[in-house]
Structures are given as structure tokens and as C-alpha cells.
């Protein structure tokens, strides 16, 4: 496949590479996402906003802006950004804190956005991109010292301030998890060690299991926190059908009623006000309902193709910095897709994670496309003779 992506000759002898496969997959996902977004949101938009294309229009605007940003970034050699790595980190810290200032915007009971020149922006999305850039540059700076325990600890500690900030300031556990997950993946790739990561993984599973065990045992006492309730609702959504389990249950109704071939595009019933946040975090369940197992699997395969392209580019990147950037983006998208689908299928407890390129959300699509620009830029650095 990659063989077909041979760029045209440019002036001299050297042939450059442009990953049209990746670009096509991204464009396809964006187009598909807009169709699904319109299908999912039109009923509610026409009822609530008086304009069935209300959400679609906003998303198209963000997408167009994002595509421009992507093409610009794709044409800038990615090393240009290395100098902003630390600055990006600092800006993220500041932006997240701005949420607490009057610039912060509250929506759906959560204060996660800031208002920048009339545009609402989610600092957590900025932080994800900044973190990828910062860690990629850090890996390159640390060089061989990454193999030492100290280097390892520095790498793992680096994202923690931002994770803590996202969690504590914006009360957004899922973004904190994603940022930390990106960091862990990048450290994993940059370090030759396996054992430590297996141990970390096992420890993580053990902590989760213990937490679930404690919460289930404490279920009778009413001292349960917000998240504790979510765990219980996860284990038995029908028992909490009127509360914490409501959204999950509605998502399951949507998914289950889709069957193998789905009800057909636009035929979802659950989007008619039954499933809260249908066009955001829960859009995948509407895809399942309308397009069935067939459509859902096709979407997942597209994402897998996307991740495969990331792998190819990362493995052929001309230097470690480029490779690490792509690994970061790969981690970001993979983690979000996996967690999103796991949430809507009630495989893990409910937490708000959007589906990249498809869920409604301007900041998200804008920064994802910026990341795509970076990946394409890294791809451009590949010398064909290296392939």
C-alpha cells in the first residue's frame, strides 16, 4: 500500500514520501463522522435549536479549520516544533488553570472549557498535544540515560503534574487517564525494558480490581462517591437504570437493538432524546444501532488501519523525535478509541471519552487534525530509499 504513495518528483533527484493512505483514512473518518453526527444530532438539534444542522455546521467549521491547520503543519518540518516543547508544557499548565478564572466556561455541569477570543477551547485537548511534543523532545534529550531507573522515573513523572491538574482542576478523570496513558506508551517505546512495564501493568490491574472490590463491599453504605456509584452501575446497569446506569443502559439498548445489519442510516430510535450525549461520547452506540455490527466493525477496522499507518510511519521515521511524535499520536488515538468503545459497550465503567474524528467537539477535532499534520510531516521526512 505504502508503495503507491510515492510523491511526485520535486526538482531534483530525491523522491519524497507523502502518506496518502493516512490522509485518505483521516478524510474518510471525518466525512463519515460528519454524516453520523448529522444523523445523530439532527432530531435533537431541530427540537432544541430549531435548526437540524446546528451541530453539523459547528463541526464542519471546526473540521475545515482543522484541515487547514493540518495541511499547514504537514508542510512544516516537524523539528520546527521541538523548540516549543517546554513552552507547550507551560502553556498547557496555564490554560488549564485559566478554567478557574472568569474565562472558564461551564457546560453540562462541568467546568472544562475556556473562552479564547469567542471560541471555546478545551485545555485538556491542548495538553494532550503538548504532552506528546514535550515527551518526544524529552526522550531525545535524555538519550541513553532513559535506561537508568532515574531516567525512567523522570519520564513517568513528567506528565504527572498535568494529569493531576486536569483531574483536580477540570474534574476530568478520563482526560487525565488518556494523558498518562500516552506518556506510558511513549516511555514504553523509548525504553528497551519490558519487565518494568509488565509489572506496572499488573500493578495497575491489581489496583483497579482492589478498588472495584472495595466499592462493591461498601455498596450498602451511602458514603459512596460519584465514581464509586459509576463502578456499581457498571457492574449492574439495570439496577441503577434511573441514575448512574441510565446512559450506559440506553447505549446498550442502542447497540443491542442494532443487530447485525443495523436499522439503517438515520433510523436510530435512541437518538430521539433517549440516549443522553448521543452525538458526543455515545455516538458509537448510534453507529451500532444504525449500521449494525457490520458498520461498527468497519469503523473499528478503519481505526486499526489508521494505527497501522502510524506504526509504519513511526518505524520509518528518519529520527527518534519524529518516531516518538507519531507514537504519541498513535497512543492518543488508540487509547481514546479503545476506551470510548469500551465505555459504550459497558466493558469498563462509564467515563466521558469522545471518539476521535467522529464525536461532536470542536477542540477535539482541531487538535486531532493538528496531530495528523505532525504525523504527515514526519511521514514527509521519510526517504524513500529507507523504505
Amino acid at each position: 500500500m505504502a508503495g503507491r504513495n510515492v510523491g511526485r518528483k520535486r526538482g531534483g533527484q530525491q523522491e519524497t514520501f507523502f502518506d496518502y493512505t493516512l490522509l485518505f483514512i483521516v478524510l474518510f473518518l471525518l466525512g463519515f463522522g460528519l454524516v453520523m453526527l448529522y444523523s445523530t444530532s439532527s432530531y435533537e438539534a431541530s427540537m432544541e435549536m430549531g435548526d437540524s444542522a446546528y451541530y453539523l455546521k459547528k463541526q464542519v467549521a471546526s473540521t475545515v479549520l482543522g484541515l487547514i491547520v493540518m495541511m499547514v503543519i504537514a508542510n512544516i518540518p516537524y523539528h520546527f516544533w521541538e523548540r516549543f516543547a517546554f513552552l507547550g508544557y507551560v502553556v498547557s499548565v496555564v490554560l488549564i488553570l485559566l478554567v478557574l478564572t472568569p474565562l472558564g466556561i461551564e457546560a453540562n455541569g462541568a467546568r472544562r472549557w475556556i473562552n479564547v477570543f469567542g471560541i471555546s477551547l478545551q485545555p485538556a485537548e491542548v495538553a494532550k498535544l503538548a504532552m506528546i511534543l514535550f515527551l518526544a523532545s524529552l526522550v531525545c534529550k535524555m538519550g541513553r540515560s532513559i535506561r537508568t531507573p532515574k531516567g525512567f522515573m523522570i519520564m513517568l513523572a513528567a506528565p504527572l503534574p498535568i494529569c493531576a491538574e486536569v483531574y483536580l482542576v477540570t474534574k476530568n478523570l478520563s482526560s487525565a487517564i488518556i494523558i498518562f496513558g500516552i506518556a506510558v506508551l511513549m516511555v514504553f517505546v523509548s525504553s528497551p525494558d519490558y519487565k518494568k512495564f509488565i509489572l506496572i501493568g499488573l500493578a495497575g490491574i491489581a489496583v483497579c480490581a482492589l478498588a472495584v472490590y472495595l466499592i462493591v463491599n461498601a455498596a450498602d453504605s451511602d458514603s459512596l462517591s460519584f465514581r464509586g456509584g459509576r463502578i456499581l452501575a457498571w457492574l449492574d446497569p439495570e439496577a441503577y437504570a434511573d441514575g448512574k446506569g441510565f446512559q450506559t443502559l440506553q447505549a446498550l439498548y442502542a447497540i443491542g437493538s442494532g443487530g447485525i445489519w443495523g436499522k439503517g442510516l438515520g433510523q436510530s430510535m435512541q437518538k430521539l432524546g433517549f440516549l443522553p450525549e448521543a452525538q458526543n461520547d455515545m455516538i458509537f452506540s448510534i453507529i451500532c444501532e444504525e449500521l449494525g455490527l457490520f458498520g461498527a466493525t468497519a469503523v473499528m477496522l478503519l481505526f486499526l488501519l489508521l494505527i497501522w499507518r502510524f506504526m509504519v510511519i513511526a518505524n520509518n521515521a528518519s529520527d527518534l523525535f519524529g518516531a516518538m511524535l507519531v507514537v504519541g499520536v498513535m497512543g492518543h488515538i488508540a487509547i481514546q478509541v479503545i476506551l470510548n468503545i469500551a465505555v459504550v459497550t459497558n466493558t469498563i465503567p462509564n467515563t466521558g471519552i469522545s471518539l476521535p474524528f467522529i464525536s461532536y467537539g470542536g477542540s477535539s477535532v482541531l487538535f486531532l487534525l493538528a496531530e495528523m499534520g505532525l504525523v504527515l510531516s514526519v511521514g514527509r521526512g521519510i526517504k524513500l530509499k529507507d523504505l
Binding site: Y43, S257, A314, T347
Partner: protein, 576 residues
Amino acid sequence: MIKNKTYNRKKIVTVFFLCMFAFLGLMGRLLYLMVADSAYYTEKAKELHERERSIKAARGRIIDTNGTVIADNKTVCTISVIHSQIKEPDKIVGILSRELELSEEYVRKRVEKYSSIERIKSNVDKETGDAIRAYNLAGVKVDEDYKRYYPYGSLASKVLGFTGGDNQGIIGLEVKYEEYLKGQEGTILTVTDAKGVEIDKAGEERVEPVPGNDLYISLDMNIQSYATQLAKQVMETKEADRVSIIVMNPQNGEIMAMVDVPEFDLNNPYELPKTMDTGNLTQEQTQEILNGIWRNGCINDTYEPGSTFKIITAAAGLEEGVVTVNDQFHCPGYIMVEDRRIRCHKIAGHGSENFVQATMNSCNPVFITVGLRLGVDNYYKYFTRFGLLKKTGIDLPGEAGTIMHKKEDMKAVELATVSFGQSFQITPIQLATTVSGIINGGNRVTPHLGVMVADREGTQMKSFSYPVTKNVVSEETSATMRMILEQVVESGSGKNGYVEGARVGGKTATSQTLPRGSGKYIASFLGFAPADNPKVLALAIIHNPQGVYYGGQTAAPVVRQLFENILPYLGEMDYN
């Protein structure tokens, strides 16, 4: 520039495969949810999306022994408007007010009201409903519904009973046979969004109602109709409070007619008599009056049977052998029981008489003597054996029990009064049933109306059988009783019950109502025919007749007239 190292590449590949495994896991999860669990979640989602409207099931009919439908359903319509679907409000107001005979103002107010569905009028005739439907007006809904309808109005009202707003039985057979009659409600499922707004394109799904089954009863509306007529007549001429008539088949307990005038209009059961001042009645008072109106005196109330009960004393005495038909008695006009002097109705006394003559004379001292010869133990034994202590088990709700002395409280005086039918109370149906058992050869039958249940096409679904207690008296005693009672009608106190060309047996009774000395009487006559092989038994009870109050003069003619009409009809008249 730091180059990509081999281990970096290996790890990137590892990450890719980790992702792939996660994806495969999630696809597995999806496969499970969307294939294995699909039916479950589809059903759940459907329940959530559909709004249910119930459709009443047609209630089963009640059909008499001749196949005449006596309780039926009428299709009525409910007219409503759905505001959001209305296109031509003025036209709708015009048509609806004209067709439904409502003021334009009234209709306009409802048509213009912002509501999901607004009812304009219910219980509209089907013709009117069809006419409105034919206009095909957008936003006007004509829903068909069933309403119980009784073609015979007040006939057998207390037996049939009526139904309430949800088509459920309230009293009488309607409530007793509810499970067979009611059928199963259907539903109209409408798909809606989360706010309950109907989704047009989805259409409606109907679960058709299952109509109830028809109940076939033993009642004969011809006999019922004639008996009611007689009862009304005698109630009017004797200015009586109430007249009850039971006509049953003594061989199997089937009720042919059960009258308790005044009856009420089944199509309008909540209407109070026009003569009543209903101005300042509380709801409770109204309900109390209605309960009184709906009360079936034949089974819900007890009375002192009086001399008709001598049939029981006679049967017990003959069965026990303490008396024979040829036993001679002497009636001086009274009898001493312990220190009490109990008078005969003929103050001068009947003089010398045998047992048959004593029964023809309805002589109290003789029956007291028979009762005393039996003794409390034996009397109680027969009272119990004849089934008098238990309810008859008739298939109508609210049957009253017998009010009787406790055995340990029963002394000679109580025994003496019970022997000629006083100082205790039974229901009319109990008397008719007990006498049936005595004259039909000794089989205590269960009085009943329900014969079978069949579907609309007449295919039998269930046939009812009722318990029979055999040999409560011997065939011999039974035959003797038939003979004695035929004598009573032929040339005794019951001669007004005589029907030319037929063999009728019977017994009269005149009892004073409690408290004694109130001047109120109950006149009654129990007759059966043909006397040698009874096919029909009738009991007429007149409450508080004015003027002549003797059972022989007031109640016996009622049964005679009844028999004169129904015996030829039943094919039991011997014209030779």
C-alpha cells in the same frame, strides 16, 4: 540526530499488536451484545419507545337456554382531536358540533386547546362515529369501544348484574363469571421519542384484543318475563313491598327464572327512582340506596319460611319413622309445649285428622307433635342432612347463610316453633333447593344458572357441573311427600294453586314478620309440577301484602297462573 533503534521499532510493533488485541476484544464484546443479546435489548428498547393505549376486549355475551342473547355489547365511539395534527380547525368545529349535537363554542374550545389529545365526546353511536370518520378530517380520531348492552332492560336485572366503566362485572352473573366473560385487552402501540411525541413514519402496531367467551345460562327469558309480569301484577294489586319468584328445575337445580321486583334498568343501573328526593344525598347515602335497589331478595336476604317449612318437618318425620301418613291426630286449636300454649292458626281447632289431612290443613299442633317426636338431636340431624345449615352454593354472589338456633340452645319450645317454620331464617333459594331435594327422590341439588361457556362461534369451551348429595331422604319418603303435597293443592289449603289438567303439588305459608304484632306478613306458596315427577318448582314470596295476606289466597294464584302458562310451554301439561 538520534536514530530510531531496533528496540524502538519492536516496541512500536508491540504497541500496534496490543491495540489490535484490544480491538479484537471489543469486537468480540460487540458481537456478543449485537448478536447474542440483541433480542433482549431490542425488546427492551421497543418497550421504551412504544406508548401503549389499551383497546377494550368485547365482553362475552350471556345467552339464555333458548339461545336468546340477554347481555350483549354495543359498539360506541370516542371522538377526540389531536391538536398538532389538525389542519382545518374551522371545518372540524363545524362538522363535529353538527354531528355530535354540541355547541360550536364547546367544540372550538377543545379543538383550539394545546394538548396532545383532547376528548370531545365518548359513548357516541357507531353510526355517528362512522359518519365522522367518513369526513376524513386530519387530527380527528374516532376510537371504537364496547359498551355493555342489555336488550331486555330490567328483566332478570338482579341475576344478570351489570358492568362498570372498565367493562368489569359489578354484581350478579357478570361478576361471578368475570373470568370467562371479560376477555383480554388489546393494545395499540405507538412509537414515540423521549418526550412522548409520536413519530409519524413509524406507524402503529396493534395487539388485537381477545373477546370474552359467551356464558350460556339455564334462565329462560320467556318464563322470566312471564314471572316478572305476574310479580309486578301482584305487587301492584296487593300493594306489596316486594315480590320474589324462583322457578327452578328440581331435578338438576337449574334456575329457569328468578324474579325480585322491583327490578332496575340494567342499561342505567345508577339511576335512582324518580319518586325519590335525591337533592341532598351524600355519595354514601346514594350508594346505600343503590345497594338496596340491586339486592337480590331471592338469595341475599333471609326470611322466616313459615308453613312451607312443614315440608321439611314432614319429610324428616316420615324418614325417621316417627309418623306415618295414616297416623291420627287431634287438634284442639292449640298445643302445650312445656308451659307454653302454642296456638293453631284455626283457633277452633281442626279436630280429628290424619297426617295427610293435617298437612292439607297446615295444622300447627300436628307438626309440633312430629317435631317433638323427632327430638332436638334427630331434628338437627335432618336439618343438617337436608343441607339447610350450609349455603346452597348457587353461582351468584352474596348468598346469605341460614340463621338457626345453636343445637345446645334448642329446647322443646324452639324445636316446636322450628317445626312449623318459625324462629329461624333461611333464604328463598335455600327453601326451594331443600324442597327440590325432598321431592325429586332425595337428591340435594345445587341451584345454578351457569351451564357452559362457549366461544363466539358456539364451540363449547367449558361446561359446568355442580355437586349433588344423594339420598338425603329415601325414594319412598320422597314419593310420600309428593303425594301429600299434591293433596294439599288438590283439596287442601293450597287449592288456589290447582291447575286444570296438571298435577301440581305445593304448600302455602303465611308468616308474620318480626317484630311480631307489626301487622306485616309474608305470604308465600311453593308449588311443583307434575306432582308425580316434578320438572318445575316455583316459589312465590309476597312481602307485606295489604288486605288479604294469606299465602293460599295471594301467593298460590301467582304460581297457578305461572304454571298455567309455562307448563304447556314446557310440555308438561296433561290435557287428558
